[in-house]
């Protein structure tokens, strides 16, 4: 069976400091990988997705970046955090859809609570 891990679970960082959040998936190959953010009381915002190693697409302009150095590893980074980067960050994975199909189930990790002070 597949599992998804995120760490750290909680992080408190000062404004202007760097960020690195990590997500790994076990038990599958070539997954689609996603980073979402939930601000307090808000819904899910898709930040980045990746269909393969080194292939990153950004959904919204922002202070963050993502990388996929290995097939089942997805990293969210920032060089200098802003107050507005605070939130709950979720990583998710899905199977690759076949051509002409529809997006399939996404499976979510436990999340990282980031507080920028």
């Amino acid at each position: 069976s597949q599992t998804i891990h995120q760490w750290p679970a909680t992080l408190v960082q000062p404004v202007g400091s760097p960020l690195s959040l990590e997500c790994t998936v076990e038990g599958t190959s070539n997954p689609n990988l996603y980073w979402y953010r939930q601000a307090a009381g808000r819904g899910l915002q898709l930040l980045f997705y990746s269909v393969g190693i080194g292939q990153i697409s950004s959904e919204v302009p922002q202070n963050l970046s993502a990388s996929r150095p290995q097939d089942r590893q997805f990293i969210l980074s920032s060089k200098k955090l802003l107050l507005s980067d605070s939130g709950f960050y979720l990583c998710a994975w899905s199977f690759l859809p076949t051509s002409g199909s529809v997006a399939d189930t996404q499976y979510f990790g436990p999340g990282t609570r980031l507080t920028v002070l």
């Binding site: 689609n32 819904g43 899910l44 979720l90 859809p97 199909s101 997006a103 399939d104 996404q106 979510f108």
Partner: protein, 115 residues
């Protein structure tokens, strides 16, 4: 564009009472539909999904949902709510090619269970 609407931001229900959460979608073809649940401070957990076939779908934790094409709805129900069902619930629709990597999520409905 495909979209999902959850009309109820917050619902309060008594323990043991029934629960229904509404979800409406805007989509041209037969959609892939999902319900997720998020407990405070946790990730999202898949409750159930509809791809095709029987329009009444059974999920985990005693939940079910009914797809009604004529009403563009995919409402979630539970006959008897437990205190542990207090959480936020998200409805989602799978987008078609070329956006077939993406789910479109509703804004969520927060469920409070009172004793």
């Amino acid at each position: 564009a495909q979209s999902v609407t959850q009309p109820d931001i917050h619902i309060t229900v008594s323990e043991g009472a029934s629960l229904e959460l509404r979800c409406n979608y805007s989509y041209g073809a037969t959609p892939y539909l999902f319900w997720y649940v998020q407990s405070p401070g946790q990730g999202l957990q898949l409750l159930l999904k509809y791809f095709s076939g029987d329009t009444l779908v059974q999920g985990i934790k005693g939940f079910e949902a009914e797809f009604k094409r004529s009403q563009s709805s995919f409402n979630l129900r539970k006959p008897s709510v437990h205190w542990s069902d207090a959480a936020e619930y998200f409805c989602a629709v799978g987008l078609p090619f070329p956006n077939d990597y993406k789910l479109s999520f509703g804004a969520g409905t927060t469920v409070t269970v009172r004793a």
